[in-house]
Subunit: 288 residues, 4 copies
Amino acid sequence: MSTAFIGLGAMGYPMARHLAAQEDTLVWNRTFARAEAHEAEYGSEARPLTELAQADIIFSCLPTSTEVWEVLRALDGYLMPDTVWVDCTSGHPAEAPRQAAWLKERGVAWLDAPVSGGVAGAEAGTLTVMVGGDAAALERVRPRLAFAGKTVHVGGVGAGFAVKAVNNTLLAVNLWAAGEGLAALKAAGVDLSAALDVINASSGRSNATENLIGQRVLTREFPATFALGLLAKDVGIGLDLVATHKGSAPLLGQTAGLYRAAERMVGAAEDHTAALKLIEQMNDVELT
Amino acid sequence: MSTAFIGLGAMGYPMARHLAAQEDTLVWNRTFARAEAHEAEYGSEARPLTELAQADIIFSCLPTSTEVWEVLRALDGYLMPDTVWVDCTSGHPAEAPRQAAWLKERGVAWLDAPVSGGVAGAEAGTLTVMVGGDAAALERVRPRLAFAGKTVHVGGVGAGFAVKAVNNTLLAVNLWAAGEGLAALKAAGVDLSAALDVINASSGRSNATENLIGQRVLTREFPATFALGLLAKDVGIGLDLVATHKGSAPLLGQTAGLYRAAERMVGAAEDHTAALKLIEQMNDVELT
Amino acid sequence: MSTAFIGLGAMGYPMARHLAAQEDTLVWNRTFARAEAHEAEYGSEARPLTELAQADIIFSCLPTSTEVWEVLRALDGYLMPDTVWVDCTSGHPAEAPRQAAWLKERGVAWLDAPVSGGVAGAEAGTLTVMVGGDAAALERVRPRLAFAGKTVHVGGVGAGFAVKAVNNTLLAVNLWAAGEGLAALKAAGVDLSAALDVINASSGRSNATENLIGQRVLTREFPATFALGLLAKDVGIGLDLVATHKGSAPLLGQTAGLYRAAERMVGAAEDHTAALKLIEQMNDVELT
Amino acid sequence: MSTAFIGLGAMGYPMARHLAAQEDTLVWNRTFARAEAHEAEYGSEARPLTELAQADIIFSCLPTSTEVWEVLRALDGYLMPDTVWVDCTSGHPAEAPRQAAWLKERGVAWLDAPVSGGVAGAEAGTLTVMVGGDAAALERVRPRLAFAGKTVHVGGVGAGFAVKAVNNTLLAVNLWAAGEGLAALKAAGVDLSAALDVINASSGRSNATENLIGQRVLTREFPATFALGLLAKDVGIGLDLVATHKGSAPLLGQTAGLYRAAERMVGAAEDHTAALKLIEQMNDVELT
């Protein structure tokens, strides 16, 4: 019985550490040196991708569902029945049923299990995991989610991706709105630190005002832990979810457009909080 | 040395109780029976409006700046020098300098001091007070803000109103966005309680998701503690603030329009969380 | 040499009349009695679907690309090389290359050729046709577009659908914006007929103000010639086009959400101009 | 009997020419050399401001209502009873009743009479004039509106300004939406001239697509005839009108924010069509 982990990015690298501390863990990464570093640092085993198919639980944590498909296809012919595939990617809800069906033909169960909590949560092993798929498969996997602080079964295949997309879309809206509001206060001559202090003790507070703007924007640090381009992608997924069901979400629709603009005008690789640099330009103020 | 309190509405009534527990407190309310009830219940003194001018601190807590002007004019000729007027109304930042100037001509200092924390915070005496105006006047008043849990000086005259308007505008955006997102999840067959549980442990959380939607919307209770019409008014003030400085706030601009629609189509006297009933109609889902 | 026409809806019925007046025209419709009526009225020949494959040009004019796929699959095995398929559906730009490739395997050329001009234009034979696909195929077809007043080659496969989706999205935005603006004027006590008269002689005019609002909204007639649900679908296609290229279109994104709301709250089968009934509710005014 | 004209800007200069060709016309401009040039060129009489009060009709055509107030105050004590003041400024509907009342105290009638048609219309004498105020005053003035091609009485005092603000707001929306739509088509590889040709023969057309984008944007000329900053101001007035009546206009609300951003990021003095340069940046395409 062993675990496999595919994708040692900013999130995956510390997530796989918690697995390796608990059981035999095979790791693979496209840039393979990163897998070897993980082995050296945490005692996992860096192996060729196809060898990871021998584990009974395979985790993937990749940029988008497109990369997950690439890995799945590379493993075609190697996958073994009774494996559970746990995809921690912030994937697309419309891809989940296709990937689940593809795996089912090969005897493999699917769980979409994206995480929230950022790099800090991954390092602390306190991530929130939102799981879509078969409840029995989740129960089999649950004791081995060593990186999780909280695990919630939110529905059938794709429900995990859907909740993640909506969560990140709300992050995007709350962050942007706070930026517009603070820009207005700045123009009115209000001290932004005091304003943020008040808002964080009031009804307008959000994770964006409590944990992001004071620490990353007012300080001008914008540390790149979660890329603006990835958040723009997630908001796009959120809007796709709305469109799939012919939903009406005019506020999210506008937000999607604004983040695509920020991605292009500020930079896709910048931290997601740097979206507020576009608001600064739009208002000719600095959020300090 | 005594305090006066004008406006015993849902917020003012419990706020004045804390003052009365600490010092002699004169109270007045347009529907005067409510002032008499306050006297009977909390030992304040219900008096004709003009008699309240003898206090050295006068609080007002009224629906809008328009009602504050009415009270000011009614007190013309009665106000005494060295009084401090503390307006806890969610007033308009553009009215504050006019009201401060009018009072200054009569020797009275002005502080705009709107509060956040709702009826529960007013009853517990833990309100957040955001204060605009002269720092020395605030220091004189500070020990006597018996209803406050946290008091922050955010800037000059009008800055308190500005921060309050922005705070409530952020509440409005965060609440509406959460409604749109949950409507999409509902249409996708996701369990909303589970989704909310996850979001509240994740980056998309806000006061709206943590303290309002689960308690007021999913339960279908919508208890009317803060009226939708008043929130729509506050968002309008937020947008006025943006316009005053020729600011760019496209997301807030859309939100203002949506809340005016909700006010009309759901009802101005409904709880502000009932705005999500309009989102339910827009999406033909129920947020349960 | 003969022509075939599939889909005798509100647009297709009069379009096929112009073809039948010019050459032998085979017609088919799901509700076949409508094809027989066309034969009786205009001298076309109502035939089983598979017999239409013998024509050298096959037109389709259906609600969405989904119905086009159904017809294509029903004709599999019957299609003949050197045919040109001309799809006048307001189809999806992402489906066009798939449908073109499927037809190419069977030796058939593809043109996406949606039309604009409404039922009146179809009856008059003055439709604007926006064509995507191979220029040589278009030249072969061009003399036989008997329903066209103007035919423009806008690009490769799918470009016709893309332009149609954007055109209809602009119609949707211009119409909605005019509704919001007129609602404000109504609330201000301005005479709307006079206002519309002025706007139509000024820089804010659009097809919506010139040809729709005065004739359909102010008269309260809302004649159902182009369904609100179909316009909402087209705006959704427009937004899909934006998303495909990670474009930034915040105004179109909001508009898509508003039309989905109108579709549900006013009725998908109502005329598209009835979207303004939702604006009337949002503002509590009547646009008369 | 003579006419006076105050404000010889891009619009006023040619407007006053038509008056001077018809009757004795006194002119004044802040930069007085421009008034002298007008006299030399067109036979008007350049005079000190206070002397213009002797005319029986006084036209003003200034940037905003603020400048109109400055002129009114400068003429206090000089105005004569039975004069009609015709303000062709794109003024603010909330200022009109104040200015009308101020003039009425001095025996002067007020008409708000903003114009549409641009510099070309002013030169040709074919402007559309939208008039708010007393019908009898308008009838007295009507034969002397030498610059008008069409004059419409739209309502009471301020109604002319209201219609002008809404007209320009619609121009702004239609222009921006067309920019977003064309940016999507450009990204999809569609030829924009062909697309514009089709749209202008279809239901999505507007004055923006017919007369502005092809001539000013695709050509990259952006000739500065109507400043972006003035259009952003007008949209702000439109939104003020909405707010005055607690109206719901979410699409106009977003648009106001986007134009303030364009004003800052592209330049207030640029032509209004240069707003699309911001859309180009948001999408990383060039609209050619």
